[in-house]
Symmetry: C2
Subunit: 133 residues, 2 copies
Amino acid sequence: MEKKSATLSEVMAARGELLNPDCPSREVLKRMTSRWTMLVMLALQDKTLRFSEIRRAVGGISERMLAQTLRYMEEDGLLARKAWDVVPPHVEYNLTPLGQQASIYVLALADWLESHFPLIEQRRREHNAPSRP
Amino acid sequence: MEKKSATLSEVMAARGELLNPDCPSREVLKRMTSRWTMLVMLALQDKTLRFSEIRRAVGGISERMLAQTLRYMEEDGLLARKAWDVVPPHVEYNLTPLGQQASIYVLALADWLESHFPLIEQRRREHNAPSRP
DNA sequence: CAGGATCCGCTAGGATACTG
DNA sequence: CAGTATCCTAGCGGATCCTG
């Protein structure tokens, strides 16, 4: 499993990997780009937050989904969880270096989307109402 | 609700826009990062393909999902569809400039994911088998 | 060939209640 | 506070058949 500098063809091959239906990274893609994961990344960008703080930050997420999302992210090494053994419980979350790297791309996409959303909406209107006489 | 030139704080607010549960761009995010949309973008990167070619390129996608994905992408202005009125039908798809812009971010994310997938998998194994004696 | 129409299983995800 | 457990529903998505 040594990692040498990738040749161009290797890079190109790797790039198409996801198009393979059996590609195991598809599930990771699915998780990472899932509705809530991206928003949690957005909320945790260079911050450390507690469970309920994230819940408040990410509008509309349910406890169940937040818990599950956090578990997945931790499992994938994107999220660090620190729990103090006190009562009432105190747990803090923040992105790991790996998670922060990933968040760069997620945030870039989110930013692009937000800034181009008006254009997309306009295209959609044009599309759905094409020159009605 | 009037829109003047954005101040820095407004820009920062815009970045958090997606965290608002009522934010309309959430649905676009959902569509754009949906399972198949990203893979179709991957397949169409600087290419023009026909329906069945895309279907073959994106392993595992069903006709129904491909058709729906293409419709959404066209609706959002990410995809251009050209149909010749011949029999048998001939239809070609390629990304619009807007779609190509978007694909940059999607592909960047996909690339990062593919190259870091081994690491993520390793983290997951470590996580699921923590120092068993 | 490029899809639309239908049927249907599965699961993502919400609401609520409960616990350490 | 930080979750887990349970129940339940909408809609994602697959399989299949059909048509211009």
